[in-house]
Symmetry: C2
Subunit: 209 residues, 2 copies
């Protein structure tokens, strides 16, 4: 029930959740695939097909109950629990990540922060104390950390990622602009605004000079 789900489908589920939460805020109780598709710019059949991988959530002739479908999807993605994260790198970028308000409301908490810089270690940032990267294995165990967040300079990124993998971490969010390598059973996602920009310029070139 896990590997036969197309990757692209899993990538779209969070989009559905996000749209449904907007609909819920607007007070809408029921939505059909056409309307949901219009908001997301996704074909209605695509949405129905995607959902069909996981079960039957709609009512024929009516559509989907907004709150119920949102709950189902959150459960499917494992979002009906808290996830604990460890941050590696408390430089400028790392500090921005620590102060980002978007994680907590979605159930993601940063519960530990690491660095290699002796001047940073021991410092308090918010309610976290920056720890030596050497303590990572024990801390991951003690605090039940599920996800690693990497915000170190590019040259240090693979090392940081290897350290996380060695602790048994199976999901890493990498803010460093490098293509890191991980074993096949480890999930890795990159947050790299420059990559995003570089794919847009290709299309800009055509319209502009």
């Amino acid at each position: 029930m896990i590997e036969q789900i197309p990757r692209v489908v899993v990538l779209r589920l969070p989009l559905y959740i996000r749209a449904l939460s907007v609909l819920a805020l607007e007070g809408k109780e029921v939505v059909n695939s056409r309307e949901l598709g219009e908001r997301l710019q996704i074909a209605p059949a695509q949405i129905r097909k995607d959902l069909s991988y996981f079960g039957k959530f709609g009512t024929q002739g009516r559509g989907y109950n907004v709150k119920q479908l949102m709950g189902e999807l959150r459960h499917i993605l494992g979002l009906d629990r808290q996830w604990s994260m460890a941050l590696i790198g408390v430089g400028r970028l790392g500090r921005a990540i620590l102060s980002y308000e978007g994680f907590a409301p979605q159930g993601f908490r940063i519960v530990a922060a690491f660095d290699t810089d002796q001047r940073q270690i021991g410092k308090k940032i918010g309610d976290l104390v920056v720890q030596d990267i050497k303590e990572i294995a024990s801390t991951v165990r003690e605090r039940g950390i599920d996800i690693g967040v990497v915000a170190v300079p590019p040259s240090e990124a693979q090392k940081a990622i290897d350290a996380l993998v060695d602790c048994g971490i199976k999901a890493i969010l990498n803010y460093a602009p490098v293509g890191a390598r991980v074993p096949g059973d480890v999930q890795l996602r990159e947050i790299d605004p420059v990559l995003a920009l570089q794919t847009m310029t290709f299309y800009l070139k055509a319209s502009k000079g």
Copy 2:
């Protein structure tokens, strides 16, 4: 020569450039598709096929000249020039984006910053003065802005994006965690770490409890 290139191919070109720049730093002069593929975890045939959409860049029996291929790809993506960007929203996130050191070396410069908050307008951040969003149209024209960067609260994002579109901007990097709508000729990329996390938990759920 633009619309018949598969989207996924365009998404991979920046990855090739990034890997090639590492190889160049390492002093490697020539690389073949197998080795490049190993670094990127992409099949060699995929790389050769991708490149074949744009021309013939390799030498049979040898491979690709690293610097030359990098130059070709940079040209294809339009990265052999500077791109000017306008930031909307100078809150915590916006300020982090302004101080991000990763844009300039890749030819992306933020040359204007806007906000709606009267308390922010007129303030200096680095060498930029925060401007009223009302001035956006004239500033985009005067400073030749190509790309908009949105870092406003979710509730304001669609408004900010509409303002950019109205100025004729054709590429927008959206940091606000909302699915915004743009006309078909406008490129939009989202930077949303929560979406990335939410697609990883699906796979985590299987291994962990």
